[in-house]
Each structure stands twice: as C-alpha cells, then as structure tokens.
Amino acid sequence: MDTASAPPRALRLRLRHLRDRLLVALCLVALALAVIPLVWVLWEVVGVGVRHVSWEFLTTLPQPPTVGGGGWANAIVGSVVVVGMAMVMGVPVGVATGIYMSEYGDNLLGKSARFLSEVLAGLPSIVAGIVAYGLIVVTMGRFSAVSGSAALALLFIPIVAITTQEALKMVPGHQREASFALGVSEAATTLRVVLPAAMGNVLTGVMIATARIAGETAPLLFTAFNSRYWMEGVDRPTATIPVNIYSYAISPFEHWHQQAWAGALVLLAMVLALNVAARTLWARRARFMAGD
C-alpha cells in the first residue's frame, strides 16, 4: 500500500459517505414536500369545517345566501343515492369482469378486458360525464340523478374489476383443483370456494372504488346537476356534496364559503373513513393469508 495516497483516499471515502447522507436528506425533503400539503389540507378542512358543521347543516335544506343558516341535508341524501345507484350498476359488472379475467381470462377477451380496464381507470372523470350527458341527459331532456350514477359507474367498474382480479389470483390454485376433483361445477367452485376466500380483498376494492367516486365532482356537474330541494326522484336533478362544495366555493358569499368548508369536512370524513377501513381490512387479510 502506498502510504502517500492514503489521506486523499480516506478523504474521498468520507466525501462519498457524506454525499450518501446528503442524498438521504434530500429524499426526506421530498417526502416532506408531499406530506406537508396533505397535512395542511386536512388541517384547514378540519379546522375551518368543524366550526361550521352543525346539526342544522346536516339536517335542513339550503337557504338563500341573504337569509343565512340552512344546511346540506338534501345534498347528503343525494350523494348517498347517486353513489349507491352507481354501486348497484357497477358492482355486478366489475366483480363479474374481475372473475372472468382471473378465472377464465387467458384469452383475447380476458386480456383486452384487463387492458381496457386499466386504460379506463385512467379515464379523465369529466369524459365519463360527457358520455352520460350524451346518452342520458340529452335523451331524457333533463338532468337526473341516474345519469350521474351512470357516469360514476363508468369510473367505478374498472377499479373493481382490477382489484377483484388481483384478489382472486391470490387464492392458491390447489383450492380450485380440490374443488374440481370433488366434481364441483365451475360456477360453484368460483362462487363457493374462490370468491369467499378472496372476499376480504374484493370488498376492499369495492370500498376504495366507492371512496373514489364519492368525491367525484366533474362528471356530476352536467348530469346530476344540482337542486335546492329534497330529491324528487332518480330522474330529476339532484344535489350532491361535491358539486355543492364547488358551487358554494366559487360563490361570492362568505356564508356559503363557510358551508363549503363544512361540506368538505363531511365529504373528507366519509372518504377517508372508507379508505382507512378498506386498508386495515386489506392488511388483516394479507396477514391472515400469509399465516395460513
């Protein structure tokens, strides 16, 4: 070993380690840059929203901005109905597509369905709204809750299809083989053996997809539209929480801005609760299956 070159080499090594540390620090800064807006949004929504959420807000109809008071009860009901109908349309199609892709999908149809589901999952939500507008609103001649649900179902189906497929793929193949060996039919094997084993993860997918569409605003602007009254029917314009947040936020009235924050708090609580529930469910299932 040449002793003369030792000090610079040691120095270089220290420099390399220093750079290692420095870049870890940069990565930490990156994480902070992502987490700070999240905390900030939550902070504002909870901080401002909590001051304006009241029993009246949750249970009464909107009032004109000049009167003050009033609430979003019709929008809360509207959101539940519109999202609920989207689930009724979307769950059968999404789950069945997922089942097909996982169990029988090693063919052109299965692969195209998978590819198109992934592409649809990235579909700009407003495009789903345009399609429902053209197909239902223009045909019926008026805005309606059901057209909003159809738009949301377009966004809901691909997410559920993909998560269902992933969930079913996690079920070990020998369970299917054992079932077939006992002479059980294809339908019963899937519905009574494979699907129950994967049920937790399928439900997780459904919940995450529900949370996603519950917060969607853009496709509802020109489908479900809005209303100041209680829902009169699924073929009528209907208020929803996200659309209300938007129209109240861009209004010039201070009182309505406050209600927009209150509505955001209600929406965020619903969406985050669904997400947290879904992900803890997922974690528990994964641990269960790993230990199985």
Binding site: V35, P37, T97, A113, G122, E186, A214, A218
Partner: protein
Amino acid sequence: MSRSVAPLPGRDGRARRHLRQRWFRYATGALALLVVVVVLLIVQQLWVQSRPTWSEWGLGFLVRTTWNPVQGEFGALPFIAGTLLTSLMALLIAVPISIGIAILLSEYAPRRLRDPLIFVVELLAAVPSVVFGLWGIFVLAPLVQQHVMPVVAASPLGLLPFFGEPGPGYTLFTASLILAVMIIPIIASLSREALMAVPRDQKEAALALGATRWEATRHVVLTYARGGIFSAAVLGLGRALGETMATTMTIGNRVNLTLDYFQSGYSMTAIIANELREAASEIHVSSLVAIGLVLFLISFLLNSLGRLLLMRTHTPGT
C-alpha cells in the same frame, strides 16, 4: 336415483351438458365483454356528439385560437396549451419529489416506518379533487400570489419567458402546483414498485464492491428501474391532463393563449366543466365535446403507453 330416463346421447345432450358446465364462464364473459363495449361506446358518443365541429373546421379546430360562444366561433388551442403547460410543469415538479420518496421508501426506510408512510402517501391520493380545489382557492392561491410568485420573479428563473410579472392568484402556476401535489402519490407508488422489482442480488453485488448505499441506488437500482419510473411519469401525466376540479378552481378561467405561467389561463377540462351544462347552441356543445374527445385520445394514448411499458419493464407478480 329416481331419474328413470337418462338424457339421450348425441349433439343435443352434449351441448346442454356443456352449457350447464360452462354457463358461468359465459355469463361473466358477457359482462367482461360489456367493459370492451363501454370503451367503444365512449368513443362513439364523443365522435357523434362532436361531429358538427369537425365538419365545420376539421382538424383546424385544434389550432384555432378564438372561443366566442356568442358569435359561434370556437377553437381549442388556448385550452390545449393551458392543459399542456400546467401538466408539464406539474410533472417537472412531481417527478423528482416522487423519485425521492420512492427511493426513501424502497431503499432506506426501516420496515416499521415504511408501511405507515406508504399509507400516508396513499391517503394523499384519496383526498377528493374538489377539496384540493377548495384549499387552492382560499389558501394556496393567496399564498402563491403574495409570497411565491414575487420570489420566483425576482430569482434568475424570472428571466425565463415563462415567468412574467406576478399576476393574480389564480394562474397557470397555481394550477400547476396543485396538480403536482395531486399526481405525486401515483408517480411515487408506481416508482416504488419499479424500485422494489429490482433483483436484490444486483444491488448487493454493487454494495459488495464497496459502493455506498447511494451509489448502489443510483448506478444499479435507478438504472435498472428507469423504464418503470418513466412509465410512472407517463401515467402521472395522464392523470394531470384529465384532472378537472382543482384545475378549474385555480387556473383563472380566462381564454388566454400565453406561455407566461403568472397569467390566468384555461384548461381543456375546465372549459368543459364550466360551459357544457349551459351550452345552448349545437356547435357550442359539439365544440366542448370535441375538446373532450381530444382529451380522451391523449389520455388513452398516454395510459396505453404507460401500461405497455410497465408490462414490458417488470414481470407481473412483483
């Protein structure tokens, strides 16, 4: 067994038995086919509804710069420009941050910390766009106007043609910032998956040769995963292009063809969100849908490209 008559052999019986065994496959297949049909239906709807615009101006619609519903003059360029400018700026901000997060989560964070951090990043993706928009209007826009734009304008960046005089709070710049925040989760989590898919022995070989952890990450892991990271960025760009509410609420909604991020602008999604429900004339509706069709095609291409690259760069199951 009480059945006295056995089913007759032959084509009929076999077909029935085949159907009895296979009906479930066909039933679920029919619904899977529905997904394919839905995509075709989307294209058909967008095409039929935008026909009048294409027959009036043809592809020239994409480069026309006037948008005047009263005179029936429509052109898409200001909106296409606004969407591209905001999305690309968002990508420029979000990609380095996302890669940093992905490296931290896949290479450095101890397991105990990793799962909660992944959870937090995923929560960021769950916040509805309209809530970001609300925050954008009342918190971010004033802040950007008072404290961020003057600083950027005074810095060397201010010499670029992209940053002129600090303007109002609702600008292309504000919209870009919100979009960046919103696409970080998807880029970070897809990049993390790409990094996790790098074979361990590749990295360990580099470490065994005396590389520091950073050197191994940079020269081996990042090189190996760059395809996956690129497709993550492509998919993030697709998200940013299609994002509606946060953009509509912060971009300023002014038809304004400019490269200056400190001015108000408009995006493809915002013009549809603002005008479709009140559009009265046929050509107005069809021009809005035409913008929707362009948006759909761009995002379809980006999503397909991103997915195909993902499929090629890492094997399923990682």
